[in-house]
Symmetry: C7
Subunit: 94 residues, 7 copies
């Protein structure tokens, strides 16, 4: 299978741990070079984050385990990129 | 015929396999250098993905077979690019 | 006359041949370096495509013949560029 | 007077000659390096084109003559650029 | 005082002289490297132009004189840039 | 944990100290290379700032202390980036 | 404190001095490399300008003095950037 180079995930996270240690821990998962988490919704008990992860060979299983270790859950997957380079969707935003 | 260098497809996919293995398998098809799948709609039984594929000589037949092997189907083709380089549509977004 | 370097055409195409072989055949016309076809409307019998063609000296006559050979027709011409370089319209999108 | 380097014109053109030969002929006028014509309106008898012309020293008189020779007319001038380089309007689109 | 490097002016101009000679004459004023005039409104007797002028040391007095010599008037000043480089407004369009 | 390279914070700040010394002090915190504060709301007693901080290894604890030392408070965290490079969210703005 | 590298100010200015000498004088303040003033509102007695100033070490006190010397006043501060480089707000425009 082609290596996954970028993942955009919807993550539900309790307020603890905070967004900063949560993202820093994800950024530390093997194969992840960069992680950006944007807070898109804040409810009483959970925050919804859109998390973008980039690397040379991302493993969803390992990422999901780390997310769950951090008391959060992957609610859905918004975008997946893989291959020897990253192609952007030319119709995004149309 | 000129080689196809980029394809944007609308794909209907059951929830299993997931978007990540689905895209990684597509990215592994001969001639595909990069694949990006964006989830555009989620229904009870299927997900609608917009899948962008790039390479030097894409073969729709092989891609369609792989998609169907993965229990999904190509619902429609949104954009096709071919030739020795890729030209963008200057009126897109107008 | 100055050489035509980019053409944007509105094309009506029956469902057969498909968009991929249709675009690949157009990309093979003499003088065409790149072809991108975006599906903009799907009706019962025809698809409307916006087709962008780029090259060093495009010939509309030859392109139209090829389109008609493929059972389709050039419905209208949206944009034409010609000369030793391509100038973009600075007011597009205003 | 400073040399005119880019002109954006509104042109009314009968259906004959077509947009392609019309633009190719304009692109052949002395001093024009590039011409891009976008069809912005189609009426029963005429098409309205927005025509962008670029070169090192454009002459409106010569361009207007050529336009009229082609049975069309310059309806209005939308933008004029001149000088030793081209400056874009920073407030365009505001 | 710091040298003015770019000016955006609102200019009211009678129909004569035309936009092309008007802009070409402005482009010829000492210190002006580039001039772009966009027609933003056409009334019975006057045209409103937004005129962008760029150079290394623009002098509004000289520009205003030239504008008035051409039977037009500077209605207002929309933007002024000066200094050893040009900084763009990061909040423009917000 | 992966080093944090960019933080976007919502900060509530009393009118004193002003936005300029406030941002300059934040920019002086160890590990911060650049700070940009945009005023997004002004109330009778407080200003709401969106503060973007960039560096090679940002520490939220130290930043929060500095913010509180300046009589302000971190109201929420909008975005966190970490890793050996910064990845942008491809779906931002969709 | 980290050096301030860019400031965006809301300035209220009487009609005299004009926007051009006003901006040119600001551009001359020590430490300012570039100044851009955009007129955002015109009232009977005052103009509201959004003024962007860039340099290697801007001093608000000196700038405010110069503004007041010019019979104008800093109405509010919209954005402040400081540090050894300038970071843009990734959420601007969201």
């Amino acid at each position: 299978m082609a290596p996954v180079t970028r993942l955009v995930l919807d993550v539900l996270k309790p307020h603890d741990p905070g967004v900063v240690p949560f993202t820093a821990r994800l950024g530390d998962v093997e194969g992840i070079d960069a992680a950006t988490a944007t807070v898109v919704e804040v409810d009483e008990r959970v925050k919804t984050l859109r998390v973008t992860l980039a690397g040379e060979d991302l493993d969803l299983g390992t990422i999901r385990e780390e997310v769950e270790d951090l008391s959060a859950s992957v609610h859905s997957i918004d975008q997946v990129s893989c291959g020897s380079r990253t192609v952007e969707d030319p119709l995004l935003g149309e």
